[in-house]
């Protein structure tokens, strides 16, 4: 045990049940898994990515590269969780990763012996021959050996959520700068969000023994947080990492809602991904300490100096018995002092700077010295000191290293901003204005003293308030430590043999960077990719700057000229489940149901999705297997008696106004203005590029009132197009366009007995004389004001009845009952499709965006006497003529032959190859009316090839069917059934 006797921000009165690799840990509320591991004397917590080196905890925050664990079991398990970010809770079960068979005895550690062959870019060089081996052997092998935790392959059933928030000021980070910014803005009444990735707000104040205004920093932070929590205009978001900055003041943030409890409250998500839109933001994310590069600097027991202070002060954990501190800056001294005050023996304070006077204390000071090596395979045992006297080994189980601090400026670079190099503090600082509306403050801006953080946070908030025109009250900056930053950066210890790690997570050493430079991958982005430095899940938080500084030294270019790699979101890993919350399965996808949905479902229909709509595919009767018998029977209803189909899904667009007819003439290829009131016309719409957009009907309900129908698929597109035409092209036309698809239920009644059926429910029965084919009008339908259209998509005598949507189900049920009484019944989408193919009518299988009116045999519909959308471009050369593929009907020579949509047409003697391709089938079905398959397709110069014999070849389903080009429609070419 190395928990200190007292102190720390943990609740010692409670023990938590925490398991690591099956071992029970003593942990308390307030602990992280990392602090609990250290408190239980566990130093070896993981194996490195490539060499399987034993690794311990390096850091105390989200930058941790080594201590990655898997939390939980089975499908709910989460790999690659940083132990430093995982709160201890009852029932927490954690496992080490990337080791076999155990963490202590990892046989894959043989990789470490092979390290001379596994340097940067080894896979480009080593596994070259034979080429075929790469994909089948080398890559799978390498992937298996390397790596981190593994996901379970079962679906993740944990709930996740997306959430949205808006504020005047987003404060990112709740250290001294963030707390002051939030206090300043909160007291002024601004809407503030204060987000911090930690569960305890206060940042470094919780980790240091600093005083603010005469009280301990952690206590001051607690008072500030209590004041903020009481503000109604301020939202505290602990456990929330702001992960990205985006256009327009938008920020992404991951809130770990219930990762810190054993059993989440009911309905609580595991994570919530927030989209926060902030008018202004203060980046107060603090700074991340840099390790130092010296041989074997990756052993368990070697920690960042600031992290060591955090474990000492916040979690009351002494990570060793005998410590050495190695630093290149004044901040490292604090660790020596805190260790000594906590009763840990400090064997040496090693400072790489020559001209420095080390502080007095119970330690031996070594200025101008360095650590040049370490011992201890599974945990540090000794370090080798090189000072003026020469080299000597010092026994130590703990080494604190400090290479200075990097402002956590990542979020300021997400919109292409490049940070500025500040030589005085040997660190990059955020460039001003890199993200509009975002200002950095405190350590994130390179102001490392507590006093500077407090005043910087307050000033940043005050400036944001002034921008927003919110009056700020003066805020007093409390007294606090204001030490200058003194550093002489030591990017690598020179003249020492052995591998010195830069990127712990991806196992990248100084040697690898040197190799990259030598092989001319000397640009920083090339070096990154060649060595993979900074490409692990920690994205180089502890290694990026050191890596480029070493590269700068090796190439002699200087750090500012070398520059940084590009920081991209997310700042820390975000589970895909959180980003995709609501997207799995049905999720939050909208569904559109027919007015008669329930009745259709009750009738046993099989539903099929058509866009967002759910439509009945067919209605199986008892004894029928598969869809074909049902479909054939339903086609028979329509051809022989009467069928009923809910066609509410068709787009319905209401067009009204004095210029409605003129407007429709301009958007339809054919003329609509000549249509008489009470009549319907088939209409064809083109896109401006001359291809067909959609077809449908235009019904004239009054002099200035039209109702258009569109295909189900194109309803949205046609609506937007008409709005474009009305608003953008011809605003001078007085016309209003409104989608009424949802407002009207519409039911098709088709078949020789359809008139009798509709007359059952019409207040005023219709006759063929007063309501002929293509008539329309108002109609009282079973006491409801509705509309009647004599239109047909089946080639039969047919009607469509429309009533307000609320009456749709009743109308449908009455019609189906009536149809059944007349020997018919409901028909579904399969039958509807067969009926229309038999008649050669079009859907978006044919109107697929690459067909012209001419291709469809509708060229003459484009009126010559007027302009319309697409008319000029439809006349382009190449959009008509014998080289085009034209709509044709096809029937198999052998009545048993099968035609499949998607099959390609070739001449009988030709190989079915692309160069011999003559066309393709778009719609195919078995025609129960004719007793054989039929198809619609596009055939080069098809209209001139009537009677030609071809092959329809479908390679997907291995069909090769001889077929003949036949005239359309297949059924009732004279249209007698339709008009009669």
């Amino acid at each position: 045990m190395s928990r200190l006797a007292s102190g720390g921000q943990i609740d010692r009165s409670r023990d938590l049940d925490v398991l690591f690799d099956g071992r029970q840990l003593v942990a308390h509320p307030g602990d992280t898994l990392a602090s609990a591991l250290l408190a239980n004397g566990i130093r070896l917590v993981g194996r490195s990515f490539k060499y399987h080196r034993p690794r311990g905890i390096l850091a105390a925050g989200s930058e941790e590269p080594n201590a990655l664990v898997t939390i939980g079991h089975h499908a709910a398990r989460i790999p690659n969780v940083r132990a430093t970010m995982q709160e201890a809770h009852d029932g927490l079960v954690a496992f080490s990763q990337n080791r076999w068979p155990t963490l202590g005895l990892d046989l894959m550690a043989v990789n470490d012996l092979a390290s001379p062959f596994l340097g940067a870019g080894f896979y480009y060089k080593t596994f070259m021959w034979p080429a075929a081996f790469w994909e089948r052997l080398y890559e799978p092998l390498i992937r298996r050996a390397a790596g981190l935790g593994r996901l379970d392959t079962a679906p993740d059933r944990d709930p996740h959520e997306k959430a949205f928030a808006f504020c005047d000021l987003l404060v990112i980070g709740a250290g001294p700068a963030g707390l002051m910014a939030a206090l300043t803005a909160g007291r002024a009444g601004a809407r503030v969000i204060l987000a911090d990735e930690d569960f305890r707000l206060g940042g470094r104040l919780n980790a240091e023994r600093l005083e603010i205004g005469g009280q301990p920093g952690a206590a001051w932070a607690a008072v500030a947080v209590a004041e903020l929590a009481a503000m109604p205009n301020l939202r505290l978001m602990p456990r929330t990492t702001v992960t990205g900055t985006y256009d327009g003041g938008t920020y992404g943030a991951l809130e770990r809602v219930s990762e810190h409890v054993g059993l989440p409250p009911e309905h609580a998500p595991r994570n919530a991904f927030w989209r926060i839109v902030a008018r202004r933001a203060v980046l107060a994310a603090g700074a991340i300490e840099r390790p130092l590069a010296f041989p074997d600097n990756d052993r368990p027991g070697i920690m960042l100096a600031g992290a060591l202070r955090a474990y000492l002060n916040r979690w009351s954990v002494a990570p060793g018995r005998r410590a050495v501190v190695f630093t290149d800056n004044d901040d490292g001294w604090r660790t020596a002092r805190d260790l000594a005050d906590a009763g840990v023996e400090v064997a040496a304070l090693v400072d790489s700077r020559e001209d420095v006077t080390l502080p007095e204390g119970p330690w031996r000071g070594h200025a101008g010295a360095a650590i040049t090596g370490t011992r201890g395979r599974r945990g540090l045992k000794a370090v080798r000191l090189r000072d003026r006297a020469g080299e000597s080994w010092i026994e130590a189980d703990c080494l604190a290293v400090s290479g200075g601090w990097n402002p956590a400026l990542h979020l300021s670079c997400h919109m292409n901003g490049r940070p500025d190099w500040d030589a005085a503090i040997a660190a990059f600082v955020p460039a001003a204005g890199a993200v509009p509306g975002l200002v950095a403050a405190g350590a994130a801006a390179g102001a490392f003293s507590t006093r500077a953080a407090l005043s910087g946070g307050a000033a940043a908030a005050a400036a944001a308030l002034a921008d927003l025109g919110i009056a700020a009250l003066p805020v007093e900056i409390p007294e606090a430590e204001d030490a200058p930053t003194r550093i002489a950066p030591l990017w690598r210890v020179r003249g020492a043999k052995g591998r010195a790690w830069l990127d712990f997570q991806n196992d990248v050493t100084v040697k690898d960077v040197a190799l990259a430079a030598r092989e001319n991958f000397a640009a920083v982005e090339h070096m990154k990719r060649y060595t993979t430095l900074g490409m692990a899940t920690d994205q180089g938080k502890t290694s990026g700057v050191a890596g480029l500084a070493v590269l700068a030294e090796l190439t002699g270019r200087g750090i500012a000229a070398t520059g940084t790699t590009t920081f991209r979101p997310p700042y820390t890993p975000v589970p895909i489940a959180a980003l995709g919350a609501g997207g799995a399965g049905q999720g939050l996808a909208p569904q559109r149901f027919l007015p008669a949905h329930d009745a259709i479902a009750e009738a046993g229909a099989v539903f099929v999705e058509a866009g967002l709509w759910y439509r009945p595919s067919h209605y199986p009767a008892p004894g029928e297997t598969g869809w074909r018998p049902a479909c054939d029977r339903e086609v028979g209803h329509v051809r022989n008696a009467v069928g009923v189909c809910d066609v509410t899904t068709l787009g319905k667009i209401d067009v009204q106004g004095p210029h409605a007819a003129e407007f429709l003439d301009r958007v339809y290829a054919n003329t609509i203005s000549t249509l008489a009131t009470g009549r319907v016309r088939y209409g064809l719409m083109l896109r401006e590029d001359g291809f067909v957009m959609d077809d449908g009907t235009a019904a004239r309900l009054g002099e200035m009132h039209f109702l258009l129908t569109t295909t189900t698929a194109a309803a949205g597109q046609v609506m937007a197009h008409l709005e474009f035409c009305a608003q953008c092209l011809w605003p001078e036309l007085d016309v209003a366009v409104l989608s009424v698809t949802e407002h009207w239920a519409q039911v098709a009644v088709a078949g020789p007995r359809s008139r009798d059926l509709v007359n059952d429910i019409l207040a005023r029965p219709v006759s063929d004389a007063d309501f002929p084919f293509m008539a329309c009008g108002e109609a009282a339908v079973a006491g409801v004001a509705g509309r009647l259209f004599r239109i047909s998509f089946s080639g039969e005598h047919a009607y469509e009845i429309a009533v307000p949507a609320g009456h749709g189900a009743a109308l449908y049920e009455r019609l189906v009952a009536g149809a059944a009484a007349r020997g018919g019944g409901a028909y579904g989408l399969e039958a509807l499709n067969v009926l229309r193919i038999e008649k050669g009518l079009l859907t978006h299988a044919e109107l697929h965006g690459r067909t012209t009116a001419e291709d469809l045999g509708l060229g003459r519909m484009i009126a010559t006497a007027k302009d319309c959308i697409g008319k000029v471009n439809a006349a382009r050369p190449g959009l008509s003529g014998p080289r085009r593929e034209q709509l044709v009907g096809l029937a198999p020579l052998d009545p048993a032959g099968q035609l499949l949509a998607g099959a390609h047409l070739v001449a009988p003697g030709a190989d079915p190859l692309a160069e011999n391709d003559l066309g393709y089938l778009t719609s195919a079905c078995h025609s129960p009316t004719l007793g054989h398959d039929i198809a619609l397709g596009f055939l080069r110069d098809g209209r001139a090839r009537r009677g030609a014999v071809l092959r329809a070849v479908c390679r997907l389903r291995d069909r090769d069917t001889a077929c003949r080009v036949v005239p359309l429609p297949f059924v009732d070419p004279e249209g007698g059934r339709l008009r009669g």
Binding site: D247, P436, E688, D689, F724, Q727, W730, P731, N873, R876
Partner: protein, 87 residues
């Protein structure tokens, strides 16, 4: 990214649909000929800087909007109702 709809106010990007360059507002006269229509449909500038675009507030009032956006930083410089501009 956020857009300020002249009718609805400031809204999230996802309520809007991008519909192409604002050139589409200037449909040539029918007699202008094929070349003019080809230009209208296809020929586009690709500026690094302010660019006039058409957007539709599809998930809102359904107004078509002319938006001037800086392609370098997505700053939205101007939003106007296409109907007003076309008049």
């Amino acid at each position: 990214m956020r857009l300020i709809c002249p009718l609805c106010g400031e809204r999230d990007l996802r309520e809007f649909v991008y519909r192409g360059a604002a050139v589409l507002l200037q449909r040539p006269a029918p007699e202008a000929g094929a070349a003019a229509f080809l230009d209208y449909l296809v020929t586009r500038d690709n500026p690094a800087g302010p660019n006039a675009e058409l957007w539709q507030h599809e998930g809102g009032c359904r107004a078509w909007l002319r938006v001037v956006r800086d392609t370098r930083d997505h700053a939205v410089l101007e939003v106007a109702l296409a109907r007003e501009l076309a008049r």
